[in-house]
């Protein structure tokens, strides 16, 4: 019975991960499909062709590249801006705090279609032509709220005594912040950044309105879906994920090597 209890959590977590990744398994599977027509809906045969030439489809790799760049830029900016806001909201009692708390939720509550269109109107009135830059700006805008809420959850449980102790030991505010606070809230900030990245790379509606001639990965797929999504879409999606996972794996192994080296 204790065996079950001890491993119940692991079993559940693995099952949850399996549930999350089940459609990804299908996507990976269909990246090896050999469709006769332009649609990739039914299994017709195994082939490595798609993997041998993942960049074969014109416009697709550029769209993917755009999406990744936009996601990196916007999640970085949103994380910085959002973390600052979260710090202010949790740490300080100031006039307008309640209102700010509520205000932060507003971008999340606004339906994307009207938000995207209204933002476009702003760009139009400012005479800013839509394209890569406006997409980044739009993504930062809706990402900030998500970062704030995520980082705030972390900050709320943060033990201020650690900061007090550091300052008692002679550290000034900046050193305390960079050497004590930041490392301790880092997982929360990272979680916020990860969420922002995911939101950005997957966004469609707001992007469609503010993209101009730039094509991002979701835009490409939605456009292609009308006439047929090539298996290379599956290949690239898988590739990007594998790349990111590989980088993380490498950093973990590197840390291990370093740890072993020290001891």
């Amino acid at each position: 019975m204790t065996f079950v209890r001890r491993h119940a959590l692991t079993a559940f977590a693995v099952a949850a991960l399996g549930y999350l990744l089940l459609p990804i398994a299908v996507v990976v599977l269909f990246s090896f499909n050999d469709p006769a027509g332009r649609f990739n809906y039914t299994w017709q045969g195994f082939t490595l062709e798609n993997w041998r030439d993942p960049f074969a489809v014109p416009g697709l790799s550029e769209a993917m590249r755009n999406s990744i760049q936009i996601a990196l830029l916007s999640s970085l900016a949103a994380t910085v801006l959002g973390t600052l806001i979260a710090l202010a909201l949790v740490r300080y009692a100031f006039r307008g705090r309640g209102a700010t708390n509520l205000f932060i939720f507003l971008p999340m509550t606004t339906p994307e279609v009207v938000l995207g269109a209204s933002l476009l109107t702003l760009f139009l009135n400012l005479g800013v032509s839509t394209g890569f830059g406006t997409i980044v700006l739009a993504h930062i805008m809706f990402n900030i709220s998500f970062v704030v809420v995520t980082v705030r959850a972390r900050l709320v449980g943060f033990d201020r005594h650690l900061e007090e102790a550091a300052m008692d030991l002679g550290a000034n505010e900046w050193t305390t912040f960079t050497r004590v606070t930041l490392p301790l809230i880092a997982p929360g900030v990272a979680a916020g950044a990860l969420l922002a990245f995911a939101l950005s790379v997957d966004d469609f509606v707001i992007t469609v309105f503010n993209a101009g001639a730039t094509v991002t990965f979701p835009l490409y797929v939605y456009g292609a879906a009308r006439v047929g999504v090539p298996p290379q879409v599956n290949v690239l999606g898988t590739l990007i994920f594998v790349l990111a996972a590989g980088l993380m794996l490498a950093s973990v192994l590197l840390q291990n090597r370093r740890a072993k080296g020290v001891t």
């Binding site: 977590a13 990804i24 339906p111 998500f146 809420v149 959850a153 929360g188 994920f241 996972a245």
Partner: protein, 285 residues
Amino acid sequence: MSFLHRHRGAVPYVLLAPGLAFLGVFFVVPIYYLANTSLQEGSLDVGYTFAWAWSNYTDAISTYHEQFVRSLVYAGIATLLALAISYPLAYWIAFRGGRWRSLLLLLVIAPFFVTYLIRTLAWQTILADEGPVLSALTAVGLVEEGGRLLATSTAVVAGITYNFLPFMALPLYASLEQIDGRLIEAAEDLYSSKLQAFLRVTLPLSLPGVFAGTLLTFIPAAGDFINAELLGTPRQSMIGNVIQSKFLVITDYGQAAALSFVLMAAILVAVLAYSRALGTERLAR
């Protein structure tokens, strides 16, 4: 630094300034345009004029209250399901993940690397009428004979749940990871059972994460339209679908804007009630 020492009260405002300024330009101004639009009436042919058209709002509520309620209900159920699935997962990653945590978190957002359309297509393949999953469920009796999984309210809620899981899991993780394992040990040393330790120590300490995760899931889910569009029948349409339609198809920009504001208000009311219930003065400190 001494400037900030002398002007302590200015610190929060300095921290807020960049982010709020950004939102001031790129969110508040567009919302102003939207508010202006919501009180306009007209059509493409005759043009739209500002006319204090409060009827946009009253019509919105009277005609579409069914979709409003349905949206909040679907979002609520999806949030609860997401919580049920994500909490153990986040807990496991935070406490048992060890070195592999970053990799595991990456796995959590992995579905977002292939666009929404592709992963929904994959789910449709998995849950197809002639697929193995439905056959298995029918054989077991969970689904009635001749029933289907797709194009149902179950499919829509499941779709919303699935697509918002990372929104629940990541804040939960951020909060759980912070909990000092020794507190739990101490509780157990003091003769509490594992369950008690969880309920009395871990759960309360993770409430900020629960609060954050539920909000980050419920709020955007309430305005979602794409899951109902691809996985549901007309009977599952949510307020997001109505707003899409009003804006894009019927080009009734006034009504679309009014509907949006009513939705935003409804969500904010729900959020406020929820915060009160959870006693977030403590949580937000």
